[in-house]
């Protein structure tokens, strides 16, 4: 685990990180409610507890870098810069959604921000990330591809095939494994003979490091170092971000696989509480700052919901549009 030496932070930088994490937290809580009111349907995988990973990681990427995500992707999408109204409209299935209402929660896309979407097939995104990096290398672009995936993906064949191919061809891929200890209802130690995921990457001669996924400063520091290294062309790297999800795997999950005490214990060292305690201890922020950040976040979410409510449905006449990009007959 990263040394717990206190990483330097300024008031302005600290509040920026806190604001970003609160934007995600308020967005996800509102989604929980909107799902209860049947405004959002289908599958919904909320990101509460893992905000530090998205906020810490995304800040070190350039706009031209490529990002590949998973179905627990609201945090990645929002911090990558996809406007909250476009994300909420997508969850409502509206035409103004970032995928025109066709993808939903698990398939948010944004070509202008090189956000290549969530993927509902566990580990389905890893080969895509390898390919994007292959193109970056062959086209001599000085960009990298960051690939988010969960601990569940580590059991898939595509994880091993992709890490081997990326390492064999020394491709600029940064594999970010969000290890939240549960693959849906299966704890990591029920699924993996070797639970230290970094060792799997080293088996493919790939540098790998564990990171405290609850400490946004640690995540930011480690990821920015890894990004710079991968950008030099030395080949891919893997970071195992050890984190925890406070909510169920998805909406309809009575969480029989873990007890409430464990959740409560992790909530005490959640990413937002950890940062807030630290900034207050350093005298860099007050409770008013916290309430203002939270108020601003909720206001942004309110506006996003209003936008989604008012947006039009896509016309059924466009049902088959975009199946092909080019002329067919």
């Amino acid at each position: 685990m990263t040394e717990t030496v206190e990483l330097p932070v300024s008031r302005e930088h600290g509040l920026e990180l806190l604001r970003e994490m609160l934007r995600i937290r308020c967005f996800e809580d509102r989604c929980y409610r909107l799902y209860g009111e049947t405004k959002i349907r289908g599958f919904l995988h909320l990101y509460n507890g893992e905000e530090a990973v998205a906020v810490g990681a995304m800040r070190s990427l350039r706009p031209t870098d490529a990002v590949v995500s998973t179905y627990r992707e609201h945090g990645h999408a929002i911090v990558r810069g996809i406007p909250m109204p476009a994300v909420m409209a997508e969850l409502f299935g509206k035409q103004t959604g970032c995928s025109r209402g066709r993808g939903g929660s698990m398939h948010l896309f944004d070509a202008s921000r090189r956000f290549y979407g969530g993927n509902a097939i566990v580990a389905g995104g890893l080969p895509i990330a390898v390919g994007l990096a292959l193109a970056q290398k062959l086209l001599r672009q000085n960009d990298i591809t960051t690939c988010f995936f969960g601990d569940g993906a580590v059991a898939e064949g595509e994880f091993h095939e992709s890490l081997n191919l990326a390492s064999l061809w020394r491709l600029p891929v940064l594999f970010l494994c969000e290890n939240n200890l549960y693959a849906m209802g299966t704890a990591l130690d029920q699924a993996q003979a070797e639970t230290d995921i970094t060792t799997k990457a080293r088996a493919y001669r790939m540098a790998a490091q564990p990171v405290d996924g609850m400490d946004v400063l640690a995540v930011e520091t480690m990821v920015s170092r890894a990004v710079d290294e991968v950008r030099t062309g030395c080949g891919p790297m893997l970071l195992e971000l050890r984190t925890y999800r406070f909510r169920a795997h998805s909406m309809f999950d009575p969480q029989l696989y873990r007890d409430k005490a464990e959740v409560a214990q992790w909530e005490k060292k959640g990413p937002i509480i950890t940062l807030t305690k630290r900034l207050k201890a350093l005298g860099l922020m007050s409770e008013d700052d916290y309430e203002r950040c939270e108020r601003d976040a909720n206001a942004e979410v309110d506006a996003a919901v209003q936008f989604a409510e008012a947006s039009p449905w896509e016309s059924v006449a466009d049902l088959e549009r975009f199946v092909y990009a080019g002329p067919v007959a």
Binding site: G36, E37, T38, K39, R41, G93
Partner: protein
Amino acid sequence: MQVEFHLPSLGADMESATLTEWLKNPGERVRHGEPLATVETTKGLIDIEAYDDAQVLEHLVQPGTKVPVGAPLARLEISGAPQAPPPSVPSQPPAAPAAPAAAATTAAPASSAKTAHARISPAARRRAHELGLPLETFARSAAGGIIHVADVEKLAPPVASAQGDARAAMRASIGMAMARSKREIPHYYLSHAVDFGPARDWLIGHNAPLAVKDRLIEAVLITKAVALAAARIEGFNGYFRDGRFESASAVHAGAAIAVRSGGLVAPALLDANQKDLPTLMRDFSALVMRVRAGHMRSGEFTAATITVTSLGADGVDVLFPIINPPQVAIVGAGAIREQPWVQGSQCVARPVLTLSLGADHRVTDGRLGARFLRAIAELLAHPELL
């Protein structure tokens, strides 16, 4: 601000849940995100959390009761500004109109380029063979249309077999046409009661000086009224073929005539809207005679653009007739019977006729149907104009 807390939907396929335990009782405070109650779902126990900081005022549901998603569970007093209250009406996508033909269903075969052969279904081809009818007989009369078994059987030559067979054959062919009509045509029905008094009085006056052979019967007045209305209001006179309505300029009113050997035929009174009553009566009389004599002209069969049917004096008050395809409307005339009728503030006995309309909802709708029936009633109220 007081609000009701409703059972949230926790999954796409969750319809209801049973409240097992209140975690907050009336008077207690709950923070936003804190569990308020536990419910039993098909997947197990799930805690449902409050959306806002609030105080519990009242439990509306007791533990052990099963409630549908959205049912109110408790009344809360929200402290501080609540989050944007959700609008009451959940906006659902508009019911998808029938998917454009391009999607799942493939378009019915449009009438393709004129092929050498008439378009005859294999079943019709085999039936024609069985009835000894050469295919050429259909090629002409089916220009553009498709020949089905029913079309073949309709023109089957009168079979010389015993009357029983003829009756069965006629009944079968009418049955098939009616079955197809019921299957393909989305009927809607309307009825309208009419004071037939004025028409009847006019008829008695008109017939009084005339010899028996020149007298008119009530059916002729009704048929003329229907024909005039059909000429005036669009959508009831013509054919529905190959997916579209073809309005007919002329009005050939099919007159339903009971056939003693069983069934009903409705040969056409040609240009019924243009002929005066005596001429129409003569045509009608000749038509009945030909039906009685059993040698009908096939042309008269297929010419009708709308049909009028009634069961005569000993019939019933209202008919709900089936459209003769490919027509798009049929008017029924019930038995004319003395019935109570309100006139001003009095209730008097009047000879009441109930008109009914069966029409094709692909072409018209109830509003237009009502205008059509009222137009007929209006004409019958002024028989001198017929």
